[in-house]
């Protein structure tokens, strides 16, 4: 009886096949000239092969003469498990690398490293953060990576005067809380949006930009600053949902609008299938996304369609700093990911403080406050709110199935 069912199914499938054969025989118009999409905007911006690292960038190794107590500890607090684990892994691998390099060079100062898991969940974050602040040996923290959990726990660091540098949380309001212990190791959304807008209308030469944002704090905030920057070039907006897989409604709006560029303000989980479906429907313009899209997963999931994609990111292309890339790869058996270098640099700032003799919480805090040096990825100097003074936004594109940097944008 099952056999019968399978047979009928096969019959149906065969019908399907024949139908498809019919379709394929019909000479399909070249998709580039078929539907929607403005003229070809294939702007050819050459990829960078290496970037200039500051000559006197501070490295974790220091001068090798540092001494410190055996209890001196740095901590990473953030997601280690859960749906957002990958981002956390990228970061603490970077931190781990910095600490390993430091300890190897400084026999007299073996800094310990502790990790606390928040799953990226604000409701769970108070437990690990409180635990970390209770441990007297911990004098500096890298984290927390997400804006929500940072908001939920910033006051605990403040109460305990424990310095922490976030390598990934980009919500602009985070620095409005009057916290003196919070430092952001990268540019916030308010920096990236205008730069992205400038990049799209300038270097990419787009005239009609369609903006699609997801429902995250990140997507909404970035969407707003970008659309402000785009001005009259913006011809339409649409909103999608986290977890959405089918974007046909949004795509038909875009195709009808004859946009020549689409800016997607969100993460790759939705951005990748969106780009893929967009191109499958014959879109020939460019696709631009922020750092939330800039991940190898984007290319994996969008497939060939990703070749039209550009990214903006207030992050340095760490993979282009050969020393960092090779060391990271040797230690973790994978390429550095998004925010790996931010984690590395943040740890370096703290380690340099320890090496300079700032070995309690108060001293390390004031060390970070007055820090003014080059890191591997950028110059680190914070204003009194904890924002970097001159964060740089970089552009990236997809070339031969890889994300490659194209230099600083928006300047």
């Amino acid at each position: 009886m099952y056999r019968k069912k399978v047979m009928t199914t096969l019959a149906a499938a065969a019908t399907l096949g024949m139908l498809m054969a019919g379709c394929a025989n019909q000479a399909a118009p070249e998709s580039s000239s078929s539907a929607g999409g403005g003229g070809s905007t294939a702007v050819n911006i050459p990829a960078l092969t290496s970037i200039e690292t500051p000559k006197d960038a501070v490295l974790p190794a220091g001068d090798g003469k540092a001494t410190c107590a055996a209890t001196t500890t740095l901590a990473y607090i953030g997601a280690e498990t859960g749906a957002n684990a990958q981002l956390g892994i990228n970061i603490f691998n970077g931190v781990q690398l910095a600490i390993d390099q430091h300890n190897k060079a400084n026999a007299g100062c073996q800094v310990q490293f502790k990790k606390f898991d928040t799953e990226g969940d604000p409701n769970k974050a108070t437990g690990p953060v409180t635990q970390a602040t209770k441990e007297a040996g911990i004098i500096g923290v890298v984290g927390l990576p997400f804006s929500g959990e940072s908001k939920a726990t910033g006051n605990i660091f403040e109460q305990q005067k424990l310095v922490h540098i976030t390598p990934a949380a980009t919500n602009p309001t985070l620095t409005d809380n009057g916290w003196t212990t919070f430092f952001r190791g990268l540019g916030n959304d308010a920096v990236q949006g205008p730069a992205a807008a400038k990049f799209i209308t300038g270097k990419l030469g787009a005239k009609k930009v369609y903006l699609v944002q997801d429902d995250s704090d990140y997507g909404i905030g970035l969407g707003k600053t970008t659309s402000d920057g785009l001005g009259s070039a913006l011809i339409g907006t649409d909103k999608v949902t986290t977890g959405q897989k089918d974007f046909s409604a949004t795509i038909s709006k875009i195709m009808n609008s004859k946009a020549d560029a689409v800016f997607y303000s969100g993460y790759y989980a939705e951005g990748a299938p969106f780009d893929q479906q967009l191109v499958a429907k014959g879109f020939t313009g460019t696709f631009i996304g922020p750092d939330g899209l800039k991940d190898d997963q984007f290319i994996k999931q969008a497939g060939d369609a990703s070749s039209n994609a550009f990214f903006t990111c207030p992050c340095i292309p760490g993979e282009l700093i050969p020393t960092f890339e090779s060391a990271y790869k040797a230690a973790n058996n994978m390429e550095p990911g998004t925010y790996s270098i931010e984690g590395y640099d943040a740890a370096t700032v703290l380690l340099a403080g320890i090496d300079a003799g700032n070995q309690d919480r108060a001293k390390l805090l004031s060390w970070v406050k007055s820090y003014d040096k080059d890191g591997l990825s950028k110059h680190y100097k914070w204003n009194d709110k904890g924002e970097l003074q001159a964060p740089t936004v970089y552009g990236y594109k997809v070339e031969n199935g890889k994300i490659v940097p194209i230099g600083a944008i928006g300047e």
Binding site: L10, A12, A14, L16, A24, S248, A249, N256, K300, A302
Partner: protein, 336 residues
């Protein structure tokens, strides 16, 4: 009721709901075709819910995982065959052969999952005559177990996209292109539905299914092997879910993910209830309707989040007015 309450909330500078009617007019036909395409996938999955509900009176929560296992079947077949992110330049015959192979594997994966689910989770409960709540909680547990087993093995990220063939527009209706992919999905889904309906109404096994749906005890007395009918029903649901999986992966190559079936499953169940659970035609109607509502809603409101809200409100309203769904229940019972 809820919207009026919400207007009492403090006003903010931005409006939270807008109706973009010109956009709906402009995109009406493309939204319709896309909605029908996705609706057909809903409908195929909805059939699985409907059939099982018909014979067991059970919401098989884990049917979404039966579906996602089919998606993994497609993915592994295609990656074994060497498909990558770009569509290979294959002859039509080769494409069909590959698709058929993927279909068979998907169907096997889904049907096997459904079979195991029935044997390992539901059958022990049936043996000791467990109350319905117990069945339902088991189904939810099974759904979670399968999802997070996949999560443990394959990680949180979707599998890389594999493209089977490049979708091309074939003709134009109302100024909108129709793509071969859309046509294949809709036509194949409808054919499968028709076959299923025929099978249920005409074949001997189909009569058995209907008999068990109507009155399991009497059916047993009349010589129907209830256990066999139940397992058959699960397997048929699995087969249809496997087919749906192929179409889904064709349409959304990056949809193969541990929890990729969950929301789709809930929507498909909603589709089944909307059309009238236990009713084969109802599943088709409900699926297509839900696909259309989703697409129109997204375009009209400019925010896809509303589509879930609207879909559920429609479902609740329909249930309140017609607890039996639009077409009523016909596979089994007339009893409420």
């Amino acid at each position: 009721m809820i919207p009026t309450l919400l207007t009492m909330l403090p006003a903010d500078d931005s409006t939270w709901i807008t109706f973009d009617i010109p956009s709906l007019m402009q995109n009406f036909w493309s939204a319709t075709f896309d909605g029908l395409t996705f609706g057909s996938i809903y409908a195929l999955v909805a059939l699985g819910y409907t059939l099982v509900y018909g014979v067991l009176n059970l919401i098989n929560f884990a049917h979404s995982e039966v579906f996602i296992m089919g998606c993994y079947g497609v993915f592994f077949t295609l990656s074994y065959l060497g498909f990558g992110p770009s569509a290979p330049n294959l002859s039509v015959g080769a494409i069909i052969a590959n698709l058929l192979l993927a279909l068979v594997v998907a169907i096997c994966a889904s049907a096997l999952t459904a079979f195991l689910l029935e044997r390992l989770a539901y059958r022990p409960l049936r043996k000791r005559n467990a109350p319905r709540l117990v069945f339902l909680i088991t189904a939810i547990g099974a759904s979670f177990t399968i999802q997070y087993t996949i999560f443990a093995v394959r990680g949180p990220n979707p599998e890389p996209a594999l493209t089977m063939f490049k979708s091309n527009p074939i003709f134009e209706v109302f100024g909108t292109f129709i793509y071969d992919q859309q046509l294949i999905i809709v036509i194949a889904a409808v054919i499968m539905m028709v076959i299923t309906e025929r099978f249920i109404s005409k074949s001997r096994t189909g009569r058995g299914i209907r008999a068990v749906a109507q009155d399991p005890d009497t059916a047993t007395l009349m010589g129907v092997n209830k256990e066999k009918i139940i397992i058959t029903t699960f397997v048929i649901g699995g087969i249809l879910a496997g087919a749906a999986a192929l179409f889904y992966v064709m349409k959304i190559p990056s949809g193969v993910q541990y929890n990729g079936g969950f929301i789709l499953g809930i929507k498909a169940f909603a589709a089944a209830v909307l059309g009238g659970i236990g009713n084969v035609r109802g599943a088709l109607l409900g699926g297509l309707l839900l696909g259309l509502i989703g697409n129109y809603g997204q375009i009209l409101l400019g925010n896809s989040q509303w589509t879930d809200v609207v879909a559920f409100l429609v479902l609740v309203l329909v249930l309140l007015v017609r607890p039996e769904g639009i077409l009523g229940t016909s596979l089994g019972r007339s009893k409420a």
